[in-house]
């Protein structure tokens, strides 16, 4: 049985020899004077199982010694660090980076297929330059701003800490102070981050850390375009005092043709209106949470159609509770006495389930200017929802005016909302 590295000659050509490791900054540690040991064919690559050159070093005081875990071929294929398998540019897991860059690698993952693939890639890499990323990632490596946002800014040396002292966990650690392992409580065993697997992390499937990051990315604040396609105006808030209209124009003209700019210096805001809706959407996407003018991060929101005054930026949230009818356009009709407008909502349907174009948005009404109030009755006519269908004949009239509908008894949070109980309705 050939046990030594020199006597075993099977497939020796496939073994990888390297001169310098491919590592990220955090794995190397904070000490610029790091001493590294090189061992030719010291271990098998965790992914392709070929013997390769391992490098071993200490990433700092009180850190565990780290060594390269995957071979250079595998690392180059995915453009990752040989030890931590995180992207070299962003420091993010492979799954996150591939999802953001939409890179689908399709490299074979099992048995002979994998070995054959790796062998070929190895031959390719040897011909080319050793510094670029190979494979699918190399072809599509663009600076992606989402990834830059998700990436860490400072090195995370907690990764290099020693492992937990299992004796200490049991209470049996006799080494005490000089124990090089961590005397810390271990993570909860049902933490999903505990079950990580190097192959899963490498092929970008099922990686709990990646999933956590992507969930965090999804919950980053985003600005949704409003449903009213006529709105092409952006509200720009938190502007510096000395801002002038030409400066705003300079910032926003690149997204499309500007129809008008209204500057309200008192409220430190302005309204930028584009001719085309697509331009406005592009501007919103490009500037939301990103634009900085004169050192101040400006807040971007979609403007509401009517109010060009500053206060319209806040929606009136008081009437969002299901069941409370919002203030009607006719301010005197507090008790819904206008009979011809009473309409019974379909049973069981809540106010917010109605299609949005039927629900009167709150703040608009309060500051309604006559010219803009019209769309709502028009929208009522155009509705084809089940509300119209269920309420049959009643909606045949000029439009469903939902302002005056008393909520059905099942949906009222407060007894005082039940107009019939208070005797307000004329029976």
């Amino acid at each position: 049985m050939s046990m030594s590295k020199t006597t075993n000659t099977y497939n020796r050509q496939n073994w990888e020899d390297a001169e310098f490791p491919i590592l990220c900054q955090t794995c190397l540690g904070d000490n610029p004077y790091v001493r590294m040991i090189k061992e030719r064919f010291g271990k098998e690559c965790k992914i392709c199982t070929r013997p390769f050159t391992i490098f071993r070093w200490c990433p700092g005081a009180r850190m565990r010694f780290k060594k390269t875990e995957v071979c250079q071929t595998c690392a180059r294929l995915k453009n990752v660090c040989q030890t931590c398998l995180l992207d070299l540019e962003f420091g993010l897991p492979i799954q996150v980076r591939d999802a953001a860059l939409k890179v689908a690698d399709n490299m074979p993952q099992s048995d002979v297929n994998k070995e054959y693939y790796i062998q070929n890639i190895d031959a390719q890499l040897q011909d080319g330059d050793g510094t670029e990323a190979a494979g699918a990632v190399g072809r599509s490596l663009a600076a992606n701003e989402m990834l830059s946002k998700l990436a860490r800014t400072a090195p995370y040396y907690k990764r290099n800490r020693p492992h937990i002292c299992s004796f200490w966990v049991k209470g049996e650690c006799k080494r005490g102070e000089e124990c090089p392992y961590r005397h810390d409580k271990p993570n909860e065993p049902d933490d999903p981050l505990c079950e990580q697997n190097i192959k899963d992390r490498y092929y970008g499937r099922n990686d709990p850390v990646a999933e956590k990051i992507m969930k965090r990315a999804a919950s980053l604040p985003t600005l949704d375009p409003p449903e009213d396609r006529n709105i092409t105006t952006l509200y720009v808030g938190n502007l510096p005092e000395e801002i002038t209209e030409p400066e705003i124009r300079d910032q926003f003209y690149q997204y499309g043709e500007i129809r008008s700019i209204a500057l309200v210096p008192r409220q430190q805001c302005s309204f930028v209106q584009y001719t085309k809706r697509s331009a406005a959407e592009l501007a919103a996407e490009r500037t939301f949470n990103k634009l900085v003018i004169h050192g101040r991060k400006v807040s971007i929101k979609w403007a509401h159609s009517q109010a060009k005054q500053g206060t319209a930026a806040k929606t009136d949230r008081r009437f969002d509770v299901a069941g409370i009818p919002p203030p009607s356009a006719k301010p005197n009709d507090y008790f819904n006495l206008r009979q011809e407008q009473i309409n019974v909502m379909p049973a069981g349907m809540k106010l917010h389930q109605l299609p949005t174009n039927l629900v009167p948005a709150s703040a608009y009404q309060m500051y309604a200017q006559p010219t803009y109030a019209a769309p709502y009755s028009g929208l009522g006519v155009a509705s084809t929802s089940s509300a119209a269908a269920a309420s049959g004949s009643a909606s045949g009239s000029s439009g469903v005016n939902l302002d005056s509908i008393p909520p059905p008894p099942g949906q009222m949070p407060y007894p005082s909302q039940d107009a019939s109980r208070m005797g307000a309705l004329k029976k």
Binding site: R35, A61, R62, K174, R175, G176, E177, E178
Partner: protein
């Protein structure tokens, strides 16, 4: 059982005075050799051997070089019988190595980067107030 005598001759004069201590140390060594390994690390089971070896050699060295209580003849006899380690004593005679724990800790071929063992670092140079037990002999610092 008294230790095996390698030379045929009788031990020189002061022998009876030092013999009880030496016998005690040898008894300790035998116990260390037969200790079970339970609960100890692999390297840790060898530490008592090195410690007792150091103690024995230290005893002879002190008697001759410091206290001058035995004759050169007896000293040479001990070295010849391998009761004390002559190589270790040779190091102790050098400045800076007076308290050297064992010969393994200064062997640079044993380390990855060709250095001495961590126990050879003086405590003043070793920051962080950390306790080190060197892996060869369990020494906690033999020069600082």
């Amino acid at each position: 059982m008294p230790k095996v005598r390698r030379s045929r001759k009788q031990p020189p004069d002061g022998w009876e005075l030092i013999e009880p201590t030496l016998e005690e140390l040898e008894q300790k060594m035998r116990e260390a050799e037969t200790e079970p390994h339970e609960g100890k690390r692999i390297t840790e089971s060898l530490w008592p051997i090195f410690k007792i070896h150091h103690q024995k050699t230290r005893y002879i060295y002190d008697l001759f070089y410091r206290r001058k209580a035995i004759s050169r003849e007896l000293y040479d006899y001990c070295l010849k019988e391998k009761i004390a380690d002559g190589n270790l004593i040779a190091k102790w005679k050098k400045s800076g190595y007076e308290n050297l724990c064992c010969l393994r800790c200064i062997q640079t071929r044993d380390t990855n980067f060709g250095t001495n063992c961590i126990c050879r670092v003086p405590k003043s140079k070793l920051e962080e107030g950390r306790i080190v037990e060197c892996v060869h002999c369990g020494c906690r610092g033999c020069s600082g």
